[in-house]
């Protein structure tokens, strides 16, 4: 079973509308985007050459890497551009509780 470990991260208003911000959780840099009606989270590092996706321009429900303009679907993490690439970003589920963005990390299996 792939359960999630839910983490209360930050008040919704600490991420401006249609922008992203990075947060470090358990050693991972995760980018969280505010799309107005929902928040989306992916790994912050661009699979191309490591560009910071939190600094990208949000285009609808995609983000464009600020370094060389690779484009990713936030929902699935799939590369939209360049079409020839099949790398995929890890995405994280989010929900909002009492105005706080809550992020689901994969359950770490403890021995």
């Amino acid at each position: 079973m792939n359960g999630h470990h839910w983490v209360r991260v930050t008040p919704c208003d600490s991420i401006p509308l249609r922008e992203g911000r990075v947060v470090t959780l358990g050693g991972r840099d995760i980018a969280i985007f505010n799309l107005g009606d929902r928040f989306m989270a992916t790994d912050n590092q661009c699979p191309h050459e490591g560009g910071p996706l939190c600094d990208g321009i949000v285009a609808g429900d995609s983000v464009v890497c600020p370094l060389h303009a690779w484009k990713f679907k936030l929902e699935t993490g799939a590369v939209e551009r360049p079409a020839s690439k099949h790398e995929c970003l890890v995405t994280y589920p989010t929900r909002i509780e009492d105005g706080i963005v809550v992020l689901g990390l994969p359950e770490i299996s403890t021995p």
Partner: protein, 801 residues
């Protein structure tokens, strides 16, 4: 003596009919009376005048010379108040009595005023004439509350126009959906959504029972017992044909002046055309029928009786930018098969009705690109059985000229004026027509509502031997407009935020191409007085530094003209030490670069440097390189260092379509490479050469000479004119070397240094207004735009690695 023809009404139907009459052998001495104080203008375009897209001068159809050249006696500002059918005279409100042999009534219609208490109050207006339109504009403004009574074509266009003029607008409509005469309830709902997206309030199923206020309008009372505040009330509840004179002339009148298929009234001496007539029980309120009537009437009245008028398929298009609505024919579903398509997310609704395999009516909301095809099907009554699969989506055309090629010669291109494809092709061949404006001149096609403009362009492209297309690249898939068009839209529609533009004219989302471009355009157009949206800008412009390959940033402070001080150098050195800056480098632009600064350190670095931003990260003013000039150099003829510093001071902090790099040199040896800069000042004995459009990056281009001037102030002024002109006219990401090359330096000179006083003053004023609002972006380090602008988020809950 020739027959005396007196025309009452100097409007579109009257003058179109006179034009048609003049095509026959001359048989009349013509006198025209018009009670408006203007020559004949395009009434349809009043909506565009109100919406700020056109000026009054742009909509004139027949200028004074037109009347003079045709020996037409024109009396403007004179209202005909009486007709004596026995003596055969008309009397004007100036007392003048004019005899006629034949009388042509083209009196149009007037706004219909419903029975509402208080309509006589100051501030209640209608929307029919140019004077009405000017009055509406005069009374509109940011705090004005306007109520439009009537949610038909005219009411909605008035509402949008008033909103563009700054008003807060509410439309009150009696029926349960908008434009119910043109749209079914579903179509009406789609339209309603679009109007509300524009920010126009719509109240349906309510009537206005009274206009409130003490002398001046203060509000309206509605049938549901509610009240609305209002400073302005526009009545757009319908029109009534002007038939009083027809009564006096003794001709048969019902709702309008009754005419038969030859356009004859009940009297042989009196004719009528346009909105004032009633034909087979219909009074028309649109252009196309009026032009058709005019042609038939012209034949009858000149003794060439034969052609008949049998009625017109009505078609209407809403002229609100970004709200596409088209309706034609009979779209009711009674005894008809409806074919539908809808997409709520995109706001597209299409419905066709078919009867006996033929198109009976069409409704299009949100996408009217196929309206022409449907109009043609309606006019020709073609059997569509074979095309059933492609009614709503035509099979993709293999070649782009196919659409035009498939049209028959007799097919109508311009529905308003009634110009066929064949007529356009002969105009192209016989009259050497090559451009759209020549085509308008020769055939009047596309001078009515303008919806056939694209088709005319397509025809010109296909047929005209020397048709030169202005190559217009559209912005991107999200926002399919050429940039100059987009600038017009933003300006005329007074749009002030990126998201608003995307929602009304684009796909609502935008991308990394259009968002920064729109951000620039809005900043430039409103001289900085717009709603800046950081999310629409590239990361460099969100944090005022240049992002590096490892996600850190570079910091380049402004060192005007490349001149610094020991003190400044010491501070730079201290900052480099304190923040462990990995590299300090002298740049190619006479400045110092601190590379590898972390985002969260930026505000502290700026504060410690205590120097303004060099803006090396943005599309804006970079540097002015200078040489040492007269102060030290043995060849120097001009003080290049001082003028360079001054130039940088004047232009810095302003955004530009692409980066702007400048240089000033003291003599033609050109030590600071001014002749390969966007703007260069080259000192010479007795003055300066101002050169523009130079490059030494991806391209190498020697700058063109803009002008030669004697004083430093004149050199700065010429630079300023060019600089502002470039800001306003270049496409986003177009460097001056492409811009000047595209336009040609002659044109650039004409529009800047050689432009009329008023034009130059305009450029200078807008430049100053932008400059007055510009600030050093690094000050934001002290007062961030957002609490997390520079710092990463610290999670409320910790997670162990």
């Amino acid at each position: 003596m020739r027959t005396r023809l007196v025309v009452v009404g100097n409007g579109m139907a009257g003058m179109a009919c006179v034009e048609a009459i003049l095509k026959y052998a001359p048989c009349f001495d013509i006198t025209v009376f018009g009670d408006e104080t203007h020559v004949n203008y395009n009434r349809v375009m009043l909506s565009s005048v109100l919406a700020g897209e056109k000026a009054a001068d742009d909509i004139v159809i027949n200028p004074l010379e037109w009347y003079q050249q045709r020996n037409i006696q024109l009396h403007v500002g004179v209202r005909v108040v009486d007709v004596d059918p026995v003596a055969k005279t008309v009397t004007g409100n100036d007392g003048r009595v004019t005899p006629y042999d034949t009388l042509l009534l083209a009196t149009g219609s007037s706004a219909w005023m419903p029975r509402i208490e208080g309509l006589d109050k100051d501030g209640v207006l209608v929307f029919r004439t140019l004077d009405d339109t000017r009055e509406l504009i005069r009374r509109s403004g940011p705090a004005t509350k306007a109520v439009v009574i009537g949610g038909g074509l005219l009411g909605l266009e008035a509402a949008r126009g008033l909103q563009v003029q700054g008003c807060d607008v509410t439309v009150v409509h009696l029926m349960p959906t908008l434009m119910e005469r043109q749209l079914d309830p579903d179509g009406g709902h789609y339209l309603m959504g679009k109007m509300e997206e524009l920010g126009i309030h719509v109240l349906l199923g309510r009537t206005t029972v009274a206009v409130l206020g003490n002398g001046h309008v203060e509000g309206v009372a509605l049938s549901d017992d509610s009240c609305l505040e209002a400073d302005l009330v526009v009545v757009a509840a319908g029109i009534r044909p002007n038939v009083e004179l027809a009564h006096k002339a003794g001709v048969a009148v019902n709702r309008g002046v009754l005419v038969n298929d030859y356009m004859e009234t009940s009297s042989p001496d009196v004719f009528a055309v346009g909105e004032c007539v009633e034909h087979r029980g219909v009074c028309y309120g649109l252009l196309a029928p009026l032009f058709e009537q005019g042609k038939v009437l012209a034949a009858t009245i000149t003794g060439n009786k034969g052609p008949t008028y049998t009625g017109t398929v009505q078609a209407a298009k809403l002229k609100i930018m970004g709200v596409d609505v088209f309706s034609a024919g009979d779209w009711s579903e009674q005894h008809a098969e409806p074919v539908r398509y809808e997409d709520r997310a995109l706001g597209i609704y299409k419905k066709l009705t078919l009867r006996d395999g033929k198109l009976a009516g069409a409704i299009l909301v949100g996408d009217i690109s196929d309206s022409h095809r449907y109009m043609e099907w309606l006019r020709t009554g073609v059997d569509l059985t074979d095309q059933r699969r492609h009614l709503l989506f035509p099979p993709p055309a293999a070649d782009v000229g196919l659409d035009v090629a498939e049209m028959a010669d007799g097919a109508t291109v311009c529905g308003c004026v009634g110009v066929t494809k064949g007529a356009i092709i002969s105009a192209i061949h016989d009259q050497g027509v090559n451009t759209l404006s020549q085509l308008k001149e020769a055939t009047r096609a596309s001078t009515g509502c303008g919806s056939c403009t694209n088709l005319c362009q397509d025809l010109l492209r296909a047929v005209a031997p020397e048709f030169e297309e202005e190559v217009k690249k559209v912005m991107c898939g999200c926002l399919p407009f050429a940039e100059d068009r987009l600038r017009d839209i933003l300006k005329s529609q007074r749009l002030k935020s990126v998201q608003e533009v995307l929602e009304i004219y684009g796909n609502g989302q935008g991308c990394e191409v259009c968002k920064p471009a729109l951000s620039y355009m809005l900043d430039m157009l409103w001289c900085g007085d717009h709603d800046e949206d950081r999310s629409a800008r590239f990361i460099n412009d969100r944090v005022h530094a240049n992002i590096q390959k490892d996600g850190t940033f570079s910091v380049i402070p402004r060192i005007r003209g490349g001149v610094t001080t020991p003190d400044e150098l010491r501070r730079i050195a201290d900052v480099a030490d304190k923040y462990h800056v990995p590299m300090v480098k002298i740049t190619g632009s006479q400045r110092i670069d601190l590379l590898g600064v972390r985002k969260e350190d930026l505000p502290k670095v700026w504060a410690d440097l205590d120097m303004p931003s060099g803006q090396a990260y943005t599309k804006g003013v970079r540097m002015v390189k200078t040489c040492v000039g007269t102060d030290f150099c043995r060849f120097g003829t001009q003080d290049s260092t001082a003028i360079g510093i001054e130039l940088e001071r004047r232009f810095e902090q302003l955004f530009t379509p692409h980066k702007v790099k400048m240089a000033a040199v003291g003599c033609p040896r050109n030590c600071a490479e001014a002749t390969v800069k966007d703007i260069g000042l080259v000192g010479q004995e007795g003055g300066w050469q101002v050169v523009v459009g130079g490059a030494a990056g991806k391209s190498v281009r020697k700058a063109d000479l803009l002008t030669t001037v004697e004083t430093s102030e004149a050199a700065l002024e010429a630079s300023e004119l060019f600089f502002q002109y470039y800001r306003e006219s270049a496409n986003y990401l177009e460097r001056t070397y492409d811009f000047v090359e595209r336009l040609g330096i002659e044109k650039v000179r004409k529009e800047t240094v050689y432009a009329p006083d008023a034009v130059r003053q305009g450029l200078r004023d807008r430049f100053s207004r932008s400059k007055a609002r510009a600030v050093d972006p690094w000050l934001e380090g002290r007062e961030p735009k957002h609490p997390t602008q520079f710092i990463p988020i610290q999670s409320l809950e910790k997670v162990r690695a």
